[in-house]
């Protein structure tokens, strides 16, 4: 089924009764060429690009819950490529380029909205740091604009520009950044992969990885053993648990990150704003709710819910930045489990086990990376060689010292 304006019209005339399920619910085959563990954004994108770019369609995506039940549906939907380090910039820029063409690629409305991402600065030194990052981005061919305080004031009404403690001195704007309807990303990739023959196995939890003589043979699941020549792990917050099934110990800690939505209001913020004096970011969904978040809670967690101190922090930042938000009630709050790596950057690589590939360590920046992550992970699974864009995202960098520490925080997972 191809979605188009004409199809919408045709179905409208038949009472919208003729829509068919968007993907199949197949039984597992005994054996596949490739198994992807994890039916979230990254796993589904990997399956799509394996099928489309590399012609590998004998693929199963194994998901313990329902598709997109993890972080792809829990994030604050922001996309951007405003990174400083060369090992990151080109990768995230490719991701943004893929976002720009995503809807045509998968024939699915993901509501990609390039409304801009504005990072505010509150001191001269912070402005210098933003100027440096903006220049690094421009050198890499990524758009960036350093805004003056007056330009920020004109662009974002309602901002508390003249706070005594943290006045807004300007901002770094990436106009091509923005937001995407996150659930639609999972559904769109799932549908596109399914149409090319990928089996999406939901409610199928991996409980073991069978390895013999240093080579992966397949995965044990709650629906029995499924053989595979190649297995790719894209399990986000559960990466350490899944990798441990193959005897691997990862440079990863799992942490909880909370996100919040306010009641719906009329258009108030037409871009994405991040606070420079505290960890806080906000945008407004098309339904009108303000979608916002802040820091991880800081302690190891698999609980998918957080605690009150961070809720209080985030609310304080919100009111500092947009005083009008003090009049809003917040509607919902939830948590997702982040695979925090020891240098704050992801891992897309082979493992010491032949045929076993690893995609993890996205910290709390995995959503924007979804297309490029799938693109590069599919490449290394299909060819056995790392993609040039992910050449710095190796597993052995922690042993060799070639770290990719964007924030310069050191080997302390909860500080990235």
């Amino acid at each position: 089924m191809t979605y188009s304006a004409l199809a919408l019209l045709r179905h409208a005339f038949t009472g919208n009764k003729a829509w068919t399920p968007v993907w199949r619910f197949p039984d597992p085959k005994p054996c596949y060429d490739t198994i992807i563990v994890g039916g979230g954004g990254h796993g589904l994108a990997t399956a799509h690009y394996l099928a489309k770019e590399h012609g590998i369609t004998d693929v199963a995506v194994v998901e313990k819950g329902y598709l997109g039940s993890g972080n792809v549906g829990r994030n604050t939907t922001i996309i951007r490529s405003n990174y400083l380090l060369p090992g990151n910039t080109h990768f995230y820029e490719h991701s943004l380029t893929l976002w720009e063409g995503l809807e045509r690629d998968i024939n699915y409305n993901a509501m990609v909205s390039q409304r801009g991402v504005l990072n505010l600065c509150h001191s001269d030194s912070q402005r210098d740091a933003y100027a440096r990052r903006g220049n690094a981005m421009r050198l890499a061919g990524v758009d960036s604009d350093l805004l003056s305080a007056a330009e920020v004031r004109a662009m974002v009404p309602g901002l508390n520009m003249d706070s005594v403690r943290f006045p807004v001195k300007g901002g770094l704007l990436q106009r091509r950044g923005g937001t995407v309807r996150h659930d639609a990303v999972a559904w769109g990739y799932a549908r596109a992969a399914d149409q090319r023959g990928v089996d999406l196995l939901q409610n199928t939890e991996v409980i073991g990885i069978r390895v013999e003589h240093g080579r992966v043979l397949g995965v044990e699941t709650t629906r029995g053993f499924i053989g595979a020549k190649r297995v790719g792990l894209a399990a986000a917050g559960n990466s350490s648990r899944v990798a441990a099934m193959a005897g691997l110990r990862l440079p990863i800690e799992s942490h909880v990150l909370q996100a919040f939505v306010s009641e719906a209001v009329k258009p108030m913020i037409d871009t994405v704003v991040t606070y420079g004096a505290g960890h806080f970011y906000v945008s407004q969904s098309d339904k009108g709710g303000l979608v916002f978040g802040g820091d991880i809670d800081g302690y190891n967690s698999y609980a998918q819910r957080g605690n009150m101190p961070v809720v209080q922090d985030v609310m304080e930042f919100a009111v500092q930045l947009f005083p009008a938000m003090s009049r809003l009630r917040y509607l919902r709050q939830w948590g997702g489990i982040m695979d925090m790596s020891m240098d704050g950057s992801p891992i897309i690589d082979r493992t010491p086990i032949e045929g076993l590939f690893l995609n993890c360590g996205w910290c709390y920046g995995g959503f924007k990376a979804t297309p490029a992550s799938g693109w590069c992970f599919a490449h290394i699974i299909a060819t056995g060689q790392p993609h040039a864009l992910a050449a710095a995202m190796r597993l052995d960098r922690f042993a060799t010292g070639a770290l990719l520490d964007e924030k310069g925080a050191g080997a302390q997972a909860n500080l990235h």
């Binding site: 441990a244 440079p251 799992s254 190891n300 609980a303 101190p309 042993a399 080997a411 997972a413």
Partner: protein, 83 residues
């Protein structure tokens, strides 16, 4: 989440700063690089009981070894690192 500090009794976790896993053992200064890599970077990252170090930074300023369930956030035990 509240932590039963052995010096200050049951206190809000907001008074504490968490460092992370308590188990990694610092290698000898002349240990090979791989031992340092394991110590600095690799973690068990348990889903379940997890021994971790918390500093009562807004209280008695002592380090505690806390046992906590990472699936439920239940704090089972908190002992002073230095008796």
């Amino acid at each position: 989440m509240r932590i039963p500090c052995p010096h200050c009794s049951l206190r809000d976790s907001a008074e504490f700063t968490v460092l992370g896993a308590a188990d990694p053992q610092r290698p000898a200064p002349d240990a090979p690089p791989e031992a340092w890599n394991v110590y600095v970077h690799l973690r068990d990252n348990a889903a379940g009981l997890h021994a971790e170090l918390w500093h009562h930074s807004h209280g008695c300023r002592q380090w505690l070894r806390v046992t906590r369930d990472t699936r439920s956030h239940a704090v089972l035990d908190a002992k002073a690192c230095r008796p």
